[in-house]
């Protein structure tokens, strides 16, 4: 007991005696070193990558997914949403995007994944769909990466039995590229009202 307490006390004393152990200067220096390393990376990699297209990586229930940057409209924090009655489970609800009501899809339900914790912080990625945007909920946002279409495995072409509808391809580093067109073609996003068929 006393030995452990003494050790703790010694350590506390040591901390008190060395206040410059994790100084701001060291932190900045470490940060600058990282950045220098990145900038010192070979430039050819960027040229080779430029042959593909940009995707925005996202994490859904510990799985890494990607969405084509061209089909995206905006990202934001999903602060709050309102469930819509009478809709399938994969339609999470609607949210307010700068004064406009936008539907939000629940990809966890759609892809059969474990739903996030209720209080967890989530983000929404809005897809371009004509005049309107359709949001999809993700657990976290990754960075924008560039994918080579030749390196993608296409499940609907290979026919290896994976769920194919929402996946347009899988990158070598197991990044799953979602098919936004298929997502936007979901029934819940279509207006089936008889009186006013022109509005969608």
């Amino acid at each position: 007991m006393s030995r452990q307490a003494a050790t703790i006390l010694d350590r506390l004393h040591a901390l008190g005696e060395q206040p410059a152990g994790w100084s701001e200067a060291e932190f900045a220096e470490e940060l600058l070193k990282v950045r220098a390393r990145r900038l010192a990376a070979p430039r050819g990699l960027a040229d080779r990558v430029a042959a593909g297209f940009d995707v925005l990586g996202a994490r859904i229930a510990n799985e890494r997914y990607a969405l084509s940057l061209d089909s995206l409209s905006e990202v934001m924090v999903l602060a709050r949403w309102t469930p819509v009655p009478g809709q399938p489970q994969y339609l999470l609800g609607v949210t307010n995007l700068r004064g406009e009501i936008r539907p939000v899809l629940d990809l966890h339900s759609l892809l059969g994944l474990t739903p996030p914790a209720p209080e967890a912080r989530t983000w929404v990625i809005f897809l371009k769909a004509g005049g309107a945007e359709v949001g999809v909920r993700v657990d976290a946002l990754d960075r924008v990466v560039r994918l080579d279409p030749a390196g993608l495995t296409r499940p609907h072409e290979a026919g290896n039995g994976l769920p194919q509808r929402f996946i347009s391809g899988i990158a070598p580093d197991a990044l799953i590229l979602l098919d936004t067109a298929q997502l936007l073609a979901l029934d819940a996003l279509k207006d089936t009202r008889v009186e006013d068929p022109d509005e969608s």
Partner: protein, 540 residues
């Protein structure tokens, strides 16, 4: 006895009285016989007197004749006196009466009357002749001396005198015959009476003898049977209340008491035999017990010696322990001081630990403030990231025009990421710091508690050590007492050993005595059996 009332007076009579009665009876009979004899003898003497008188008449007649002759011849004699005597005697012989029997002394005697008619007739004839004789004598005297008729008269008187003498002779003979016959009758009577008396005496004495001898014989028979040991005989019947009866009664009582005594003796003998057997078995048990006792005493002696040895060891150990305890008491005092120092040290530690805890709490609060700042920074990084991503999206919309912008957006994104990483690192460090602080807080709290506990413990230890010191002091005293007690115990054990030796000797003596007792009880048992066999002779 009850039966006494039913018995005749004879049976109630005492033996002495009986004998007295019998002898009185015999005396009476004898007196009767003597009286009878006296009477017979008296009648005999009377008869002899009468005969004598009758014979005297003859002599008197002759005397008268001589006197008459003498007178006739002139000699003066008193012939009338002789005649008178003759007449008186004759009258007395005939009718009884007093008469002079001795002429010289003049003694007189009573004569009985004539015993029979025949004699009376003879006497009467004699009286007639006497008158004739008298008349003749008178006639003769009346003649003168020379008278012729004198011879004739003399002759006549002499004839008369002869007749008279004859008559007297005949009367004497008749009287003599009568006396003789009377004597003979008396003798016969006396013989008959004597025979009757003898017979009756025989019968009476035999009856009395039987009355006395039969119960005595029965008593003798019973006594013989008792001597043979037959006590089942019937009690004797008490036939009288005299000495024989008393003897029978006493004999019955003797038989009863003999029987009681025999019964009691037999039961006592049985009891004696049983008791002797019990004593024998007890003695044997006692002998065995004494042997066991001797063995036990031996064991006890050995044990006591062992105990004595152990006691010595205990005393030695106690001395050692007392020394050790004194050393411990000294150590205890030192320990008491050490514990007081430790208590003071604990107090100092507690104060320092409280200060440390306060410092740590302050540090924790500051770390939380840093964490809040870091959270703000992180939020800013997040927003920057979002902005960068949206910029990238916008750049993608702008295609080639937006390409440079997208690079900038990527750089912003990278900066935001780096900021996030940095904040994540800081957060991690902070979290670790917080964890460490929390641990420190907990440890400090724990340390505080433990210091408090330690203080209590040291206080308790102080008490304990003080008590221990006291106890050790007490123990020292106790051990000293133990040493003293053990020495006393040693002395006591030596006494016990001595006593046990004495007990052993005593038990050996007891064993000898018990052997003697056993032998004596065996003898007693045999004696009881012998006595029992002897008593079996008595048939009850």
């Amino acid at each position: 006895m009850v039966k006494t009332a039913h018995r005749s007076w004879w049976k109630n009579l005492k033996l002495r009285r009986k004998f007295s009665t019998v002898s009185l009876g015999f005396t009476l009979v004898l007196a009767g016989l003597i009286a009878f004899n006296v009477m017979v003898l008296r009648s005999q003497s009377q008869n002899s007197v009468v005969t004598d008188m009758a014979g005297r008449q003859r002599m008197l007649s002759q005397k008268f004749a001589k006197e008459v002759l003498l007178l006739g011849n002139g000699v003066a004699v008193d012939h009338q006196a002789t005649l008178r005597l003759m007449r008186d005697s004759l009258a007395a012989l005939m009718e009884g009466g007093e008469v002079v029997i001795n002429l010289d002394t003049g003694a007189r005697a009573d004569l009985p009357p004539a015993p029979s008619q025949e004699i009376r007739a003879k006497l009467a004839e004699q009286a007639t002749l006497l008158r004739q004789y008298d008349a003749s004598a008178t006639g003769l005297l009346a003649l003168g001396a020379g008278d012729v008729r004198r011879a004739e008269k003399l002759k006549e008187m002499l004839v008369l005198q002869a007749q008279l003498s004859d008559t007297a002779e005949a009367a004497v003979k008749m009287l003599s015959f009568h006396a003789d016959s009377s004597i003979r009758a008396m003798i016969g009577l006396e013989i008959i009476v004597g025979l009757i008396c003898a017979l009756s005496g025989l019968v009476v004495s035999s009856l009395i003898g039987r009355q006395i001898a039969d119960p005595l014989a029965a008593c003798a028979e019973a006594a013989r049977k008792i001597a043979e040991g037959d006590l089942r005989i019937e009690p004797l019947e008490i036939s009288s209340s005299d000495e024989i009866g008393m003897l029978q009664e006493a004999f019955d009582e003797m038989l009863k008491s003999q029987r009681d005594i025999a019964l009691q003796t037999r039961s006592a003998c049985d009891a004696l035999t049983a008791a002797a057997a019990a004593i024998l078995s007890s003695a044997q048990e006692q002998a065995a017990g004494t042997k066991q006792q001797a063995a036990a005493v031996q064991e006890i002696t050995t044990t006591v010696e062992e105990i004595s040895l152990s006691g010595k060891q205990v005393a030695e150990r106690s001395r050692q322990v007392a020394g050790t305890a004194e050393a411990v008491a000294t150590s205890g005092n030192a320990g008491l001081h050490a514990v007081r120092d430790a208590s003071q040290g604990m107090e100092a530690i507690r104060e320092q630990t409280e200060t440390v805890a306060e410092n740590i709490i302050t540090l924790s609060e500051r770390t939380q403030a840093v964490g809040e700042i870091i959270a703000t920074v992180n939020e800013i990084a997040e927003q920057s990231n979002l902005v960068a991503l949206n910029a990238a999206i916008e750049a993608a919309d702008a295609r080639e025009q937006g390409r440079r912008f997208s690079v900038v957006a990527g750089e912003i994104k990278n900066l935001a990421d780096q900021a996030k990483e940095a904040t994540a690192q800081v957060r991690g460090i902070l979290e670790q710091t917080q964890k460490g602080i929390n641990t420190s807080v907990m440890l400090t709290e724990e340390a505080l508690k433990r210091v408090e506990l330690g203080r209590e413990k040291s206080t308790m230890s102080e008490h304990v050590i003080r008590q221990m010191a006291d106890n050790i002091q007490e123990s020292v005293h106790a051990f000293q007492q133990i040493v003293g007690a053990t020495n006393q115990q040693q002395i006591g054990l030596e006494q016990v050993t001595q006593a046990l030796h004495e007990i052993r000797q005593a038990s050996q003596q007891t064993a000898q005595t018990t052997a003697q007792l056993e032998k004596a009880s065996l003898d007693l048992s045999q004696l009881g059996q012998k006595l029992s066999r002897t008593l079996e002779k008595y048939r009850l």
